[in-house]
């Protein structure tokens, strides 16, 4: 529980809270990106290099852009005239507190069952690669098929719209 | 082959890049104002008044007929005719302009004044570095600023000036011949009258 951990935790929590409480949807998306980055830094603090960089590459580089595009292409990007915080902030805060309480209780319960101060094993990228190809090859292939299906579906949806618009 | 155009383009720009250090055709910049291109003979900017000889007031060809002032489309020439007459190059007494001003901020270099002048007095100059910081009168050129010698005219428009000079010399020769013929005729008439008178007297 070092100083770095507290700082990163504060950053992540602040990002998450801002994502929930702000009125301007694009600001919320950007705050969510800060939360993702905070998570990635926490992974790096735990010496999980691959997970941290993959989190940055995938979440900040792709998912955040996706979220922002989705907001822009719908009506959510209309900027509110007044106020910084959304008017449902109390409800959001309550829900967040409830979820946090449940998760914290379950984690604290499980932590007390684990042996204390076990040094986490450093996992190299090579070990991850070997595990993916040998032990986890079926989930890898299923995920690949899922991604291909999603890509083809997106292309079909976009094509279909264009045809419909042309008619 | 796909990509061939790109490679040819890259070769051409490389040739340009390395050639610009060696050949003048691959570096066409003229660094004005340290280097200048000589003006072409047919270049024109704004009009000027031609004078023959050394003294600009005595040799000014303009006789203040005011045709150019009337024909100028944007009306940028302002002429004031004199009250007295001065002898011109041919010896005939002519009017002269007391005030001849051209506003070159209005002049559009159409050359109509040059085309209509019957006395070859106004021609087009090639000077363009005329900017001034006097906003209200700096671009109104007066008689003295407009008068340039015939040698200057030869310098800037050689063939045109030679042709004009030939024409003026031919006119002068015709005028002289006519005057001489008239003088010969009067001399002959006087001689024949004197002979007739001498014949009658004898």
């Amino acid at each position: 529980m070092s100083l770095v951990f507290y700082l990163l935790a504060a950053l992540t929590v602040a990002g998450g809270l801002a994502a929930m409480l702000l009125k301007n949807t694009v600001h919320c998306a950007l705050a969510l990106t800060v939360a993702f980055a905070g998570l990635a830094l926490l992974y790096l603090d735990l010496d999980a290099q691959f997970a941290g960089f993959a989190q940055l590459l995938v979440y900040v580089g792709a998912v955040a852009i996706l979220v922002v595009f989705a907001i822009l292409l719908t009506k959510g990007s209309e900027t509110p005239k007044d106020g910084v915080f959304s008017h449902t902030w109390l409800a959001g805060l309550a829900v967040a507190a409830a979820v946090f309480a449940v998760l914290a209780w379950s984690i604290l319960q499980s932590v007390s069952r684990l042996p204390q101060a076990a040094k986490a094993p450093t996992v190299t990228v090579q070990q991850i690669g070997v595990a993916l190809i040998s032990r986890y090859v079926l989930p890898l292939e299923i995920v690949a098929v899922l991604l291909t299906v999603a890509l083809i579906g997106a292309v079909i949806v976009a094509m279909h719209e264009k045809e419909g618009g042309a008619q | 082959m796909l990509g061939e155009g790109i490679l040819k383009g890259l070769a051409e720009t490389a040739r340009n890049f390395f050639g610009s250090y060696f050949s003048a055709e691959r570096l066409t910049t003229v660094e004005y104002p340290e280097q200048r291109i000589a003006p072409f003979e047919a270049a024109r900017t704004f009009p000027f008044l031609v004078y023959d000889g050394a003294d600009w007031q005595a040799g000014l060809r303009c006789v203040s007929c005011q045709i150019c002032e009337k024909e100028c489309p944007p009306k940028c020439i302002f002429i004031e005719k004199s009250k007295d007459k001065k002898p011109d190059a041919l010896g005939k007494p002519q009017f002269y302009p007391v005030r001849f001003e051209i506003d070159i901020s209005v002049c559009m270099s159409c050359q109509i004044c040059v085309e209509v002048c019957p006395f070859e007095a106004i021609k087009m100059n090639t000077e363009f570095e005329l900017s001034t910081d006097d906003r209200f009168g700096g671009l109104l050129l007066n008689r003295e600023q407009l008068a340039k010698s015939n040698q200057y005219y030869h310098q800037i428009h050689a063939t045109e000036a030679a042709e004009v000079d030939a024409r003026l010399a031919a006119e002068k020769a015709k005028f002289d011949a006519k005057a001489k013929g008239a003088a010969d005729a009067t001399v002959a008439k006087a001689a024949s009258a004197a002979a007739a008178r001498a014949g009658e007297g004898a």
Partner: protein, 391 residues
């Protein structure tokens, strides 16, 4: 003596840091290295701006700037002073916080990429095991800054420019990653120092750089295309071309913030050239075995400046690609070639040493290239133009 010249910066760093107490030394060393990077690459940026203007001028049969200082060398300083003293205009309806943060995010993420580039023997700021992945993670964050800039200006045209820029960057990011993966496949490690070390062997005086292999050459060409598109350089500079959407996503920026965008673009160019050098051109290793006495960092920066010159050369030669042409090119031509290259690299690895693998791999790549070229030609019906007049 040669060793000293090669390691001079490392020795200098150790000597400077030795003045501090031992517990502070790692932090001080990292801070000093980072400070050097932050000072060096903007200086290189100023030099590159001058080089670009003069180089482009010569390619276009004219002189570049030559009035400010001898040969115009002080022109970047004049440009810098101009940028810093201009009024900083923020549109009234712009989103002030995001508008302010966008250039900062761009510059920060771009500079982070330098942390893993080995600029000489033992001269890498952080020797990460997953160095390549770190680099691409930082590159991905750059797109976010571009989007932030375009959206916060509250200007339709900026937003359009930003969307186009982000679409382009995402498409070519895929190409960039796939063309780098072949290097990882052969080296067996994501660490950039290992990749450079694997290329710094010589046989018959010639180096083992990956560009001298069929898959490496194909990978390098595709990496170069993707790098040009990632940094929004000509011919892929539609999002920021001056004759297009004014200045695209940085239209509404003036003064120092615009200078930061400009700086960010050029430093991204350095960073991606540096990565390309590391992956394909052998990083800090010398081209011939008899030239290894020249310090390693000189080789790295020479190759970097060579790449910059190629960027400038491309800019002076090629016309701009339209957005749909650019995207077609990425998804329909470069990406299939990238995937084929992956296959060919796998074949290379498992065919074992010898001339056979050279022949087979080169043949596959050339056939694919020729096949695609023929297919495109036939589809396009390139021939004399035919006209149809109105009746």
């Amino acid at each position: 003596m040669i060793e000293t010249a090669d390691q001079i910066f490392v020795l200098l760093l150790h000597w400077l840091v030795s003045f501090l107490p031992a517990s502070w030394q790692p932090v001080a060393s990292a801070v000093l290295c980072a400070a050097v990077i932050v000072c060096l690459f903007p200086a290189l940026f100023a030099l590159t701006v001058w080089l670009e203007r003069k180089g482009l001028g010569r390619m276009q049969n004219r002189l570049g700037p030559n009035r400010v200082g001898p040969f115009g060398l002080l022109q970047p300083i004049a440009d810098g002073i101009k940028s810093l003293t201009k009024e900083d205009i923020v549109p009234f309806s712009a989103d002030a916080a995001v508008h302010f943060l966008a250039p900062i995010v761009l510059v920060v993420t771009v500079f982070m990429g330098f942390a893993v580039l080995p600029m000489g023997r033992n001269m890498v700021l952080v020797d990460l095991d997953a160095g390549l992945l770190f680099y691409f993670a930082m590159g991905a964050s750059t797109e976010l800054a571009v989007f932030m800039a375009g959206w916060s200006s509250r200007n339709k045209y900026s937003l359009l420019g930003a969307m186009r820029a982000v679409a382009q960057m995402i498409s070519y990011e895929v190409v960039l990653l796939l063309s780098s993966v072949v290097v990882v496949m052969i080296t067996g490690s994501l660490s950039l120092t290992r990749i450079v070390e694997a290329q710094s062997h010589y046989s018959w005086g010639l180096p083992h750089w990956y560009i001298f292999t069929p898959w490496g050459l194909a990978g390098f060409v595709m990496y170069a295309i993707a790098a040009t598109a990632e940094t929004n350089r000509s011919p892929f500079d539609l999002p920021e071309g001056e004759s297009e959407l004014v200045a695209g996503y940085h239209t509404e920026y003036s003064g120092f913030k615009f200078a930061l965008f400009f700086l960010g673009e050029y430093v991204a160019m350095f960073s991606i050239s540096g990565l390309g050098t590391t992956l394909f051109l052998g990083g800090w290793s010398a081209p011939f075995s008899f030239l290894t006495w020249v310090p390693s960092w000189i080789w790295f920066f020479s190759k970097l400046m060579l790449s910059i010159f190629v960027f400038i050369w491309l800019r002076g030669t090629l016309p701009r690609l339209r957005q749909d042409q650019l995207m077609n090119f990425a998804w329909k031509f470069v990406l299939p070639m990238c995937l084929l290259n992956l296959l060919v690299t796998g074949l290379w690895r498992f065919l074992g040493d010898g001339w056979l693998r050279w022949v087979i791999c080169s043949a596959i790549l050339l056939l694919a290239y020729a096949g695609i070229a023929l297919g495109e030609q036939r589809r396009k019906h390139i021939g004399p133009r035919s006209y149809r007049y109105a009746e």
